[in-house]
């Protein structure tokens, strides 16, 4: 992956596939440490599956026998001396508070740090493909933050789909404005 934002897009797709109604994408920068969290309220995974998702030869897909999403994210953080952690609660074990929490930490001053890239484009791609699920995106840096919560937008839009072109353009503009204030 050329940008971390592509890993984010890829791994967040797993949350949607797990039936999440809300997927949170949280980026926190503190000094030279970047923390990425992807938190969902989907069906969750058993301990055995959590152990095996970092193995490239484990996958839920049926078209071929390899799954590179989590292994590529693990590689991207570990090559900066960072780490990856996954915790998950299955729907069977807790019908109320279930879901998966992926945490990846990166050292941004490491020579092998992959640039973050266009995170807004990934958030927009997720919304375009899954207009009926909710996303909370928050990027924090030096006490300032960029934030987008589709639940708030949905309240205004009612039955107008989130992936309508004009709505997507509004979201793109909103994120761009917020990023200009962040830098």
């Amino acid at each position: 992956m050329k940008e971390l934002s592509l890993n984010i897009l890829d791994v967040a797709e797993n949350s949607v596939k797990a039936g999440a109604s809300l997927t949170q994408i949280l980026l926190t920068e503190q000094g030279n440490v970047l923390t990425l969290e992807i938190v969902d309220d989907g069906c969750g995974m058993s301990e055995d599956i959590v152990r095996s998702v970092t193995d490239p030869f484990y996958t839920t897909r049926t078209t071929r026998k390899v799954g590179m999403g989590i292994p590529l994210l693990k590689l991207a953080c570990e090559q900066t001396d960072g780490s990856l952690a996954i915790s998950s609660v299955t729907q069977e074990s807790d019908p109320v508070n279930h879901g998966t929490h992926v945490t990846a930490t990166f050292h941004t001053d490491h020579i092998d740090f992959t640039p973050l890239g266009d995170v807004s484009a990934s958030v927009l791609t997720l919304i375009q493909g899954h207009p009926d699920t909710d996303f909370l995106f928050r990027h924090q840096r030096d006490g300032k933050s960029v934030e987008l919560d589709t639940r708030e937008l949905r309240e205004v839009l009612e039955d107008v789909p989130l992936n309508s072109y004009d709505v997507m353009e509004w979201i793109r503009g909103s994120l761009q404005e917020q990023y200009e204030m962040l830098s």
């Binding site: 897009l9 078209t63 071929r64 590179m68 484009a121 927009l124 107008v160």
Partner: protein, 123 residues
């Protein structure tokens, strides 16, 4: 600042159009967005289709959607075009420029861009 009032105005404008979309039976453009597709550059390809379809005024006739791995990862980014009553067309090794050409020639003009289809690229 982009305000929620602005969003409200978009909603009021869109309300009538939503009904039209529900009953449409046009072409469907499906972009493969699994790990393989994303790594090969599917995100800008999807973006080019979403933008191009809107720019050409095709939004009432063409829908752009995403799917997982189609199973031909070596040919990603892969884009499938489904049209009612016609055979599916599979475009492979796509990029935003090729997407623009497909919008103009195929979605607008009705002519399949054969050179980008899997039949022409696969050996």
């Amino acid at each position: 600042m982009k305000s929620l009032a602005e969003l409200q105005a978009i909603k009021n404008r869109m309300k009538d159009r939503v009904v039209l979309r529900d009953g449409m039976e046009g072409a469907r453009v499906v972009v493969g967005m699994a790990t393989c597709g994303i790594a090969a550059g599917a995100r800008p390809v999807l973006n080019a289709f979403v933008e191009g379809v809107n720019k050409e005024g095709l939004e009432g006739k063409v829908s752009v959607t995403q799917t997982g791995c189609i199973g031909i990862c070596q040919y990603e980014p892969v884009v499938e075009v489904f049209e009612p009553g016609k055979e599916k067309v599979t475009y492979v090794k796509m990029n935003p420029e090729k997407a623009q050409e497909v919008i103009e020639k195929h979605l607008k003009g009705g002519q399949v861009v054969s050179e980008y289809t899997i039949g022409a690229v696969a050996v």
